[in-house]
Structures are given as C-alpha cells and as structure tokens.
Symmetry: C2
Subunit: 229 residues, 2 copies
Amino acid sequence: MTADLSRDTLTRSAEDYLKAVYHLTADGEAAGTNQLAEALDLAPASVSGMIRRLAEQGLLDHAPYRGVTLTADGRRVALRMLRRHRLIEAYLVAHLGYTWDTVHDEAERLEHAVSDTLVERMAKVLGDPLEDPHGDPIPGPDGSLAEMVYVPLADVPVGQEAEIRRVHTSQSDRLRYLSGAGLVPGARVKVVAREPFAGPVRLRIGKRDQVIANELALMLLCSLPGSLA
Amino acid sequence: MTADLSRDTLTRSAEDYLKAVYHLTADGEAAGTNQLAEALDLAPASVSGMIRRLAEQGLLDHAPYRGVTLTADGRRVALRMLRRHRLIEAYLVAHLGYTWDTVHDEAERLEHAVSDTLVERMAKVLGDPLEDPHGDPIPGPDGSLAEMVYVPLADVPVGQEAEIRRVHTSQSDRLRYLSGAGLVPGARVKVVAREPFAGPVRLRIGKRDQVIANELALMLLCSLPGSLA
DNA sequence: CTTGACATTTCGTATACACGAAATAACTAT
DNA sequence: ATAGTTATTTCGTGTATACGAAATGTCAAG
C-alpha cells in the first residue's frame, strides 16, 4: 500500500504542493485549486495539472471542482517535510546564528535537500525538540504530531492573562516587529482592551503597554492560565 | 562582463557541469564530451546539448570536437561550488557526527541548496578552515585557492618518510578502508618497499606495516619532510 | 591519401513543470 | 428555471533537461 516515499521519488514541486495542501486542509476543508495556486504563487492552470499527477500517484484525493485532500501517503510526505522544515529552523537558530525572522527561506530550500540521516542528526544535537522557534510542533520521525489547541490572542477576553505559545506567520517583517515588541513564545501578556469589529488589541507585556493590529493578534496563539494547555 | 552568478541564475545541472569541468581540466587539458558524460553519469548526447547552452551563457569555452574549458565566469561558479562543498563537509564532520566516508553525498546535495549566508556562517563557526576533512583546500569567498603541490605516495621513494596531506577520493568504501588503516591527513608514514610496474606499496605507519594497492597510493598526496610544503 | 575506430554533434523525442486562453462546471440570485 | 459569476479544467505551448539513433568530424595506421 504505502508507496515509495523514500528519497528522490518526489520532486521538489510535489513536496511543496503536498505541504501546501497540508496547511490548507488544516481546517478540515478540502483545498481548492485557486487557493493552492495562491499559496504556491502559481497559475491555477498549473496547479490543475499537478493535482492530476499527484492524484495519479496516490498522494492526493481529488474530487474535480471540489478540491483536494491528502491521502495517507500524501500526509506522510507532508508531515515529513514539516518535520524537516521545523527541525532545520530550530537547528539554524540554535547553532548557526539565525533569528526566527530569517530562518524560513533557508529552511524552505534545505528541506528538499537534506537526507533523513542529517535531519535525525540535527534532531539529536538539539535534544529532540518538540517545537521550533515559532512554537510550532515538530512531527515525530514516525509522523506523529502533538498539535495543541491554542487561542488566538485576538479571542482572549479583555482582562485575561495569556501566555504566547505559537507565532503563526513566516513573514520576516512581522516576525521582526513581534520579537522587537517581546511578543515571542513564552511571553506572558494581559489583554487590556480591544476595539470592536476586528479592531486593534491593547495589551500589557511586562511593564509596557502595546497596541497591535487584530491581524497580528490572530497569529499569536496563546494558552490561558488555568486551562490544561 | 561578469554575468549574474548570484542565486538561482544557474540550475543544479549547470552547477554540476561546471564543477565537473573544473575537476577534469585541473590537468590543464580541455575536458572532452565523453569524459564529462562519464563523470556526470549522463549520455554524451545530453552533455553535448548542455555544453552548447553553457557556452551560450558564457560559462564555458567550447571548441567543437576539441572539448571545453571554463571561462572566468565559469571558474567563479565552480570555485564557489567547491567552497560550498568543502565547507559543508567540514561542518558536517565537525558538528553533526559525519565521518569523512559519509559526508560526500550529503554535501553534494546541500551545496546546491544553501545560501551564501549559511555557507559563511558555517565557515565562521568552523573558524574559517583552509582545508576540508580530506585535506582538500577550501577556496576563499573571493574564489582564491591555495593549491599545494603534493607527491602521491605512489611516487615517494622507498625509505623516505612522508606526511599524508590529502586523500583524493570520495568513494566511501576506500575512505573507510583508509581511515581504518590510519591513512588520514596528518599521518606520517615511511615507504618500506614497492613492487615494480605499479605494484603495491609497503609502508610503515606507527608500529604497523601496511601494504596498499598502487591505485590507492596514487590518491594519498603527501608532503616530504624537508620540502617546503 | 584512405580507411577504420572513436569522439562528438545533430535530430527527433520524452518527461516534468510552468503558462495563457478558452471551454466547462458549479453556485447564486433573481 | 436561468443568467451571470466564479472556480476549475482542458488545450496548446514553452523551457530545461534527459535519451537513443544516426550523421559527422578527427586522427592514427596503413
């Protein structure tokens, strides 16, 4: 059943498509062609063609005009890429002087080139970390993933304290801004006020007050003291 | 004059061809199509086509039926790949538990994927090494290369002491054998005897005697105490 | 000189992936 | 139901790289 997923069976493009489908279907919905085209910065026509090929290879389930989901094999590939990507990010930050706003692009290229051996060596050197520098969970070598349920800071009630756990963006300008403001995984903040209609969020971090756009607050995933997380 | 050699201007294949031409022309002779095809494990017809494209891009000089040499731009690319490759090997050995017989393939893939930034970070962490684990010199970021002239162990006179400086192969089975025998860069050996007609070489290393095939002795590049190297 | 033998190039073709334009399916609002 | 909008697919193409078969150039031996 399990197709040959070892090395070099899949092209870089295929790996990128599967990763994208993984992310787009995280909400349980099938991923549309346009969505995918947008995410991969390709023309919809190109995506349509690639979807056909990946479906033929048994990596995607495709319901024409309905979108795609990952097959078990496809998910395996996506999770392996995710593990690679996040471990590489963690390694580059820990050992090669990268900052969380600069690792993404490097990891994006390396994830297609490293061997399983190298990935596992990096994991070992890092002490088998469970999260990357953005707080994103790192899948196990077997494809297991301990996905926590966090609350976007945008949804944390006013007056509530919260601890930032994940910062869900890979855009370096945003990451730079956020780390400048101390809004990194592990930081504790208190929501002081929020404007209605997706308005900005005012929060207290340490002794400073900070106002951030709702758009950013959506990316800061938090745990609330008292909840199990 | 200097063409755009930054990132992504060149395909992986192009980089591999230029590297191969670099190695094949080390003796001063132009590299033939068949030679190149052999080195890259491709059909001569494919090489012929690629040669044309690389010549059009100003990376190779091509005299039809005569072979190719690198242009200045081509050499720049080749030396950058060489720097990448050797630094990556050095880094993997120093920090990620690789041995010199296992690094080659990994470096071969990574050299196409790492950014200049990452290469220079690795160089820095390593303290800007001048040689890789095989004793091969690492070109500078500017493309400078301090190539030493060494004597193959196969040519060292009987009775002479020599220090191994470079081990000129990337085949892991040979490398494993050689390191098992202690024949690594820095080792001091004394040639005890040699059979005629490219026969095996008997040598003394430490307190042990060792006989190695001439083929291997050709790959062990040595400096002789007393010579300037 | 001429003739093999061998190296090299040319030619037609295949695969993987991208594109735009045009055709088609699906949904939405009347 | 049906027309318009939007999403998706199909089709014809282009680029990069590989291949084998056939044509052609080169050189050494006679």
